[in-house]
Amino acid sequence: MRRKTTKELEEISKKIRCGILETMEIGKKSHLGGSMSSADLVTALYFYKMKHNSKNPDDPDRDRFIFSKGHSVLAQYAALAECGYFPKPILKTTKTLGSVLQGHPETRTPGIEANTGSLGQGLSIGLGMAIGAKLDHRDYKVYVILGDGELAEGQIWEAATTASFYKLDNLIAIVDYNKLQAVGSIKKRYDLGDIRGKFAIFGWKTFEINGHDMKEILQALDSVDEIKGAPSVVIAHTIKGKGVSFAANNPAFHNAPLTKEQIERAKADICNS
């Protein structure tokens, strides 16, 4: 099957961003910022890189994706809907009682591999799946998107040590490095220092890109395939709220309610970008 071009993927990422807005109930809080900053990464994974098939969600050879920064799951819901894992109208039921789309990722949702939301846990789960692949002699890959603030969790470094020790070259972490967390700027509130250097010293192969430049994202994901004997991390510089003019780089939109007008404006921003 022909691989999608950069241009095509950029168009799809607009659909993903619109899909994120579909999940948001007017006047109710939603994690807009972090979902938008991950949107291009999620697009690249679901529509370019990952081996997967919505008609066969349990295919044992499928690539796995874990959204460790689970509060940004809205981007994944949009991608799963776009891929046909469930009908698009379901997006509107997000976070309502009994919905298959919960506030944070749950395996009740077709296409979701792990329950996350409690930060710091997804990388460990991913590494377990990667070990599973090796034991099972399968060549599927495991992709995990991490938040930058999430790197403060000690469990991440337990997983980093272990992944490197077990030489898990089928494990790829992607850091959505938008430099903001719930209470504001990371550098001001809780400085994480040299993220790339930290992963490197823990034995990971590192890549650093613009997380909204589709060409760079695709190049990095392809380069990772060449790595043998070590896990990889792609540090993706992103903008929280990217694509929505009033939310871009604005910590207030970590988890905020949107009015009807704001949603309309956001849609216009996305379609006209």
Binding site: T161, G193, I201, F202
Partner: protein, 289 residues
Amino acid sequence: MKIPVICKEREILVVFKEVLIENLEKKANLIRRYIIEMISNAEGGHIGGALSIADIMAVLYFHTLKIDPKNPEWEDRDRLVLSKGHASAAWYAALAERGYFPKEELLTFDHINSRLQGHPDMKRTPGVDMSSGSLGQGISAALGMALAARYLKKTYRTFVILGDGETQEGQVWEAAMTAAHYELDNLIVILDYNKLQLFGQTNTIMNIEPVIEKWQVFGWNTIEINGHRINEIVQALENAVKFEGKPTIVVAHTVKGKGVSFMENKVEWHSLPPTKEQVEKALKELEYF
């Protein structure tokens, strides 16, 4: 043991330093003897990891720490947290020798109702600043003490002895990141880098290397030494307390079971009760001056 002379006026200082080193070596040796006696009397204990920090304990308790055994609650005292709490025998030995409680009490180690519990208990033992035993936690508490010192505008320093296997615990890296973020130069960690843990060599269980570079990337000042050379420990701690702007880790290369030939570098001596013959042999090797 001679320290190089810098100039004539320093000759006296050199002589004093020689005497200091010799005294500290004697103390380290005594601590080792106490460890053997305590653990054999208790019919078990974490002997290897206690012996590996005996020299470090000697320097801390007889040179570096600003403390007062008659006043264990003195609010301006330097703090020590034994984050690798299972090496408690070494701590109790040092505390007893320093005068926090009678030496005879060492024989109650690990006995019921004793003030000397298997892992440090700050509510029971004079001189123990923080309870520990569940690995990875002591360093966080120490960081809290260091933060408190700055907040209360006090000048006490906080020292932590960390195990190398212990750095597999994620919480250690949470503490490392936080200490660096707060630029806590009143926090000094000493890593007992003996390269062994319960089931084997650290680098075969869960490799923690490269140790020095990791702490540097996490924003720490690093010093690397031989953890059994008293003069190196003395110098390292003197430099560490003077360093500004970052917390310091002294990575001390040590030998598990150091001082007793048949225990050195042996995984099984993590916590084996020595037989009567082994105790005699060990004490004979530790006969000193």
